[in-house]
Symmetry: C2
Subunit: 428 residues, 2 copies
């Protein structure tokens, strides 16, 4: 029986999941990879910390040299996250002819193309299925199973934390702050939740998905990003009345080689399968010009689902290890495509406005929309609360520039107290 | 630029789709495969038939030798279906060192292991993503992305024809015969619909999915098979009232290395995502011990979706062609697992009985169920129609053997006119 020694960098949530799977599913992994996998070293910052798993003496180390200077270690599994020192370690591994499996979305989204080129040059594998949507095989899907397609559109719910919060707000009617606190208590949100709530996490993931789908290296700085902290239960309630659910969406579209890239909360029709993706589940909807509509749904986070992607990648490395065929595939460098300015994007909008209870105010508002070429599909005027009336509008498809111009004018009206929210609507 | 010559066997629906994709997405395919693909030959039975596409002079042929004796043809794409001569041609290709891509479910489900061994021996690829669920990347998913898992359960809607018919019956209230006629008129069902309606098609596909998921070569003759011709709109209506949809399901379960393998109509809870998979869409739900719940959804048939899987497989062959790494992977031969007898399966049942309007009949029926250890979760008694009363029962989980014993006794009751239907209920 073949034996292989591997090292894991980082022993947090995912590292622990990988350890558990390698032990629990030993027999399956042996059959499918042809190898008995030994975790030779695990790099941590603090070796004394209890992580709730039994690791043999001598495996846990704080010294990276024990890994990079050991030629018997053939695969490095990077699960530290962040750019550095993760990048430095991955490059050391590649240059030392070690295969790499990583779950690092920040690194792959910003540097996936260069790292892949480096891996190819040194004849080693670089796999990163776990970097997007946990256990859902979306990277393999795009990189291998949909290669016959021109992918036109990719729309994903790819952040579990915000989806958990929005689900709570939708089904239990709690506010954002309370839902966030509960997410933190259950371990679904971090103490500093900024990366999830403000959609940096989803932005990195969209960077990877869009690069691979559209065959161009997307600069994540060109992705429009808006978090969910501005979503109130009032908006969720109105959306429901109108037949929509509110989700944090990552949207990528390729229209004649011009890309639309945006991450923001959006209303989606209750009839669309994405609207029923709840709690910490993720789902990615893809439209290809051959395959048509496709959706992948599953657990986007958690030690075992993400560990499933990492360990499956390790098995792929081992199957291909004899000859390194196509082991480092990153299809993000084929074409040069421009990203559309947000003001040129063309979509529908939900707009909620608080106005004073003065005759004619609705007329004035709808007139301004008309003057700016924004046509309205529905208008709800609600009874007043604390002296103010709520006006909720849904527009037809329109350019964002027109919306901005109209809103600027509406804000100047004396009768308008506040533009409470503007949320995009995604139709399919 | 590299050039490669390929041959296609069969120019039906899928063959036409492959031809269209190779032409429409030429640039994408070139970038992703590194090859300019030339369709050198297409084998057909009748060269004079108009197939609605423009193929250059000399490409269409009725002589297989023009393909197998031509050493410049490197890949053979088998899209004829059926066991022979497809099998003979695939073996000729493999032995002649040509890579093979096939969409042949009957062949792979019955002979996948042997053909894979043959391909490995000759150092060529054998890919068959298109053999199950059209454009949905379920084969790659199981074979490559879920290898870290012990797969416990796979439940699929994998026949588009029956799903179209059941969707029509559910949402338009038409009967089976009318729905079938409409499916035939739209090209979703064949003139002889037996293979779809009686679930042979789904049985072959489950054979492949179960073999790969559970790592054992499943004999399709051991799969319990029941078609949908017995489903009436009355059953669909009662199911709806009880909170269920009726779908043709392919179910595979691995419980401590004992397999449950069955294809039959089933009630599934309306809250489960599979219940909303309608028309010709397919979906496959998988539960792995690491990844948890996963679902893949998309178009399970049609020239372009199935063509997408075929052409993506061709691209995979070309990427790996330099060294043939792991190009023939069929994980069905790892373990020897037994298939459970249907009478030992343990599930819930929907039972509809027509009885005479005689006092005490419901009591007699429920007593018999109790005596046979079948406990009931709901009982509906409906007003009489044509002198008969409808009794609809839902059982709790029970062994099929107990159901059979109870039904035998109930059929003997004078007051019972007819056991109208017995349909399994799948809970998740």
């Amino acid at each position: 029986m073949n034996k292989v020694r591997i090292a894991i960098l980082g022993l947090g949530n995912v590292g622990r999941g990988v350890w558990k799977i390698l032990n629990t599913n030993k027999e399956e992994i042996l059959k499918r990879s042809g190898y008995d996998i030994e975790v030779a070293k695990i790099l941590v910052r603090d070796a004394s910390k209890d992580r709730g798993i039994q690791v043999p003496e001598g495996v846990v180390t704080t010294n990276p040299d024990e890994i990079f200077n050991d030629n018997t270690i053939k695969i490095v599994v990077e699960l530290m996250g962040g750019i550095n020192p993760a990048q430095e370690y991955i490059l050391k591994a590649i240059r030392g002819k070690k295969h790499v499996v990583t779950a690092n979305k920040a690194l792959i989204s910003t540097n996936g193309e260069a790292l892949t080129a480096e891996a190819r040059e040194h004849g080693v594998a670089l796999y990163y299925e776990a970097s997007v949507a946990g256990g859902i095989p979306i990277i393999h899907g795009i990189n291998e199973s949909l290669t016959a397609n021109k992918i036109e559109k990719i729309v994903g719910i790819i952040n579990g934390t915000t989806n958990y919060i929005l689900t709570k707000m939708t089904y239990e009617g709690v506010g954002f702050d309370e839902a966030l606190k509960e997410a933190q208590a259950k371990g679904f949100a971090e103490a500093d939740p900024t990366s999830d709530i403000e959609a940096y996490d989803a932005m990195y993931k969209l960077g990877i998905l869009a690069s691979l789908s559209f065959g161009t290296q997307v600069d994540v700085n060109n992705i429009y990003r808006e978090g969910i902290s501005n979503i109130s239960k009032t908006d969720i309630q109105y959306a429901k009345e109108l037949g929509y659910a509110i989700k944090l969406l990552a949207v990528g579209k390729d229209e004649n080689n011009k890309l639309e890239l945006r991450v923001h909360p959006a209303l989606i029709p209750s009839s669309h399968p994405l609207s029923n993706v709840n709690d910490v589940y993720n789902a990615i909807f893809i439209k290809g010009n051959a395959v048509g509509d496709l959706m992948l749904y599953g657990k986007g986070a958690g030690e075992l689902p993400t560990g499933s992607a990492v360990v499956s990648d390790i098995i792929s490395v081992l199957r291909n290890a004899s000859d390194y065929a196509e082991t480092a595939n990153y299809s993000g460098g084929y074409w040069d495509k421009k990203v559309m300015d947000m003001k040129d994007t063309f979509t529908r909008y939900y707009i909620r406005i608080s106005v004073k209870d003065i005759p004619g105010v609705l007329g004035r508002i709808t007139t301004i929309f008309g003057e700016n070429e924004v046509s309205l599909s529905s208008v709800i005027q609600k009874e007043k609360k604390e002296g103010l009336v709520q006006i909720v509008l849904l527009t037809h498809d329109t350019h964002e520039g027109n919306i901005n111009n109209a809103i600027e004018k509406i804000e100047e009206l004396n009768s308008v107290e506040k533009i409470e929210n503007i949320i995009r609507v995604e139709e399919f």
